[in-house]
Symmetry: C2
Subunit: 213 residues, 2 copies
DNA sequence: ACTAGTATTCAACGCTCGTTGAATTTAGCG
DNA sequence: CGCTAAATTCAACGAGCGTTGAATACTAGT
């Protein structure tokens, strides 16, 4: 069975995603992207308006799907608990698990995109604007669900708890290899299953400690 | 009382720190740095070997002091608990509080440096190497202390818990303003006291949940 | 005042950057 | 085939990049 080449536009987006994830927006040139996509430099400006537009399209290409599967996971949890309240673990799991599963199941396809998110989330320049634009509607939905599960929480505590969650999750996405060094090989940055197994439990305990005072 | 100008080398380091923190290593040119430092471009290469060397010196300038005050805070906690075991909160507080206090007390001086750390920690390219080089000796010391406070912890659980801590802490350093948007103004990225007040409690609960199974 | 060393300025190097317009090839369709 | 529109190539633009070497100004110590 012969191999049909991907459309050029997709090849460019793939190359841009991989390179932006490694070195950031400014650390990559359009020429490097097009070289990796095996296409002429000027083709970038046939398919996209500018380097910045290319970057935005890389972001947009996958973000909607991510928001869909996470919302769906939350709705399933709420469906399952039509009569009682869902636990904090389950709500947090609905937030983290869909992404961690994608990353674990098709690492090749998703790792670069999540690395990009990790960098953006921690970028003083773009973090506030981009993350809010792409994710805050969904995040607000999750915070509402958590507010019901933690009815005694003060108004600020839930937001700060989510902030801690966000930091923990996106550092996982970065897959820097630091935990490999620190643990002397006991843990591996790419072992997403190990994270999936621990993160909801860890964070739920934090939420409860802070939002039940 | 007249104002004495800072030595040129320090002015360059200050300018580089601020700009690298905002836009990353690749996003800033030596010319921009020297323009902000109000000095000729070529002076950068009199005081430093290269752009990369300048970046390294920015990092090195403050990292030792940070490691010192955190180690000291840990030793004080251990001193205070010569007979019993220190609590997980206290150990984590010794890790986070010295930095958060610096940031709260002299924001002007420290905010850019911590923003830089936030970006590096989440950079797939540099995160593993640089963070390990600069911080892992100290972190190992803290993990040993936590192991004593959590004697039933499995070998991987402590490292993953620290990983979550690291992500939560460095996202705080980034001060992206996202939590301002998300909370509609209830929380502010720059309100470090609010973080200091919540982080040890939140994280200690997570550590205990994961490392006491 | 002379000197030695430090600090700073000036001009330039080769190279890469993002971007563009025009020319060319390719693919779909009557 | 012949026409049209989409896709791709080619060559180049002005600007900015990191870096360097030589010339100049400043600052101590004698």
């Amino acid at each position: 069975m012969a191999h049909t080449r991907q459309p050029t536009r997709e090849r460019i987006l793939d190359a841009a995603e991989a390179l932006f994830a490694q070195r950031g927006f400014e650390g990559v040139s359009v020429r490097q992207i097009m070289s990796q996509a095996d296409a002429d430099v000027s083709l970038a400006y046939y398919h996209f308006k500018s380097k910045r537009d290319l970057f935005d399209q890389v972001m947009l290409r996958k973000v909607e799907y991510l928001n869909e599967i996470r919302l769906q996971a939350l709705e399933e949890v709420e469906e399952r608990h039509r009569d009682d309240e869902p636990s904090v673990e389950e709500i947090i799991g609905a937030f983290t698990r869909p992404l961690l599963q994608l990353l674990a199941d098709d690492h090749e396809k998703w790792s670069h995109y999540f690395q990009l998110i990790a960098q953006i989330n921690n970028s003083p320049e773009m973090g506030g604007e981009l993350m809010s634009r792409y994710f805050d509607p969904l995040v607000s939905r999750f915070i509402d669900a958590l507010k019901k599960a933690l009815p005694d929480s003060g108004p600020a505590d839930l937001y700060w708890s989510y902030h801690f969650l966000s930091g923990a999750l996106t550092l996982t996405f970065a897959e820097t290899g630091r935990i490999d060094n620190l643990s002397g090989g006991v843990c591996k940055s790419t072992d997403i299953a190990a994270v999936d197994e621990r993160m909801p439990e860890f964070l739920a305990a934090g939420f409860r400690a802070l939002c039940s005072r």
